[in-house]
Amino acid sequence: MKIIINLFVWWSLAAAVFAGQTLTPIPGKVVAPDFALQDTNGKTHRLSDYRGRPVIINFWTTWCPPCREELPSMNRAWHLIREEGIAMLAINMGEDEDTIFIFSADYPTDFPILMDQTGEVIEQWPVKGLPTTYVIAPDGTIAYRAIGSREWDARELLDVIRQLKEQRQEPD
């Protein structure tokens, strides 16, 4: 009976861990595809310019409900991490500056919103659906992935990203 109770407790703990805010580790040191995209203010961002620091890259559109759902928590997360050397870029897929501008009245964001109007950049990434978010390690490799929305200001999630700052900057 004791064994059964112990196993049940173990199973309950395991289930609780899996029910939390998690990121999926990406094995194999896959180098993130570089891009050069303009943000809504006309500034060009290249992923390679962010080498040496963790980067959160979120693919989204204004018409995707779970994308909208996670944007407020992403903005809160941005204010928590922006002074810690962690970058955050949201890549809008297929929409123009005016559409994003109107949308931002309801969903204000302070981190850069990049525009992939032709969808060429998203096609270079292993994205299947929206939203999908990648966390890039300082060495330029894809460290984690999240399919679907998350509460990005959750401490357990941000701590995983913070740990990436300890890594070497060159891929193996």
Partner: protein, 205 residues
């Protein structure tokens, strides 16, 4: 809320009382919950089995028209899409078993039964291939490419995806949907019976 169990566990003989007590309830707990949104009346079918959850939420043809009218689709294509029985669809790997299993779905294997016939659901690839540049420009095709549910996708625990699925039958029609997925190395299946496409505006009261 209406609730019923859809199918029994498909696994063969399971050794051990302990395994039976701890794991079998998860493996055999397939059920479909049918509910309606109190505010807008739209119905939802929520399929739950082991680590997978599938939600199908009715989508009014007018909602679909509104989405696609904002993009460069021809009027004919917008009507084709609006009248194709679209559902907002969510697939989620809950990971609640704690086994950390990858779930893989392949919509080409899903089968719908309607009016005595069995067939495939409407997938985005043939839709996109069927349209000329006049039917939908490149930007409009991107909306379909990313707005409709991925035909194949893998989900780790906590992953979920949202997208539109379409069934190609008239508004107000009823159909059954046989869903399949792979959970780790095990191929699994279930059925959602009596799904009803949202009615068009002329049928709303």
């Amino acid at each position: 809320m209406f609730k019923y169990v859809t199918h029994a566990c498909r696994r063969k003989r399971i050794p051990g009382l302990l395994f039976f007590l701890l794991v079998m309830p998860l493996l055999c707990a397939a059920e479909v919950q049918r509910s309606a949104n109190e505010e807008n009346g739209l119905e939802k079918w929520h399929f739950i089995d082991s680590d997978i959850e599938i939600e199908l939420v009715q989508r009014l043809p007018d909602q679909t028209r509104a989405l696609f009218m904002n993009h460069a689709f021809s009027r004919e294509v917008i009507e084709q899409l609006a009248l194709s029985c679209m559902f907002q669809t969510i697939v989620r790997n809950t990971g609640k078993s704690g086994a950390g299993q990858v779930i893989a779905i392949d919509l080409t294997q899903w089968r719908m039964q309607h009016a005595g016939k069995t067939g495939s659901i409407l997938l985005k690839e043939p839709l996109l291939a069927s349209w000329s540049d006049e039917d939908a420009d490149a930007a409009a095709k991107l909306v379909i490419r990313w707005g409709m549910f991925p035909t194949q996708q893998e989900y780790l625990p906590d992953d979920y995806n949202w997208g539109l699925t379409a069934y190609g039958i008239p508004p107000g029609s009823t159909f059954d949907l046989a869903v399949t997925w792979r959970e780790g190395e095990v191929q699994r299946s279930g059925e959602i019976k009596g799904i009803v496409c949202a009615p068009d505006v002329d049928k709303l009261k």
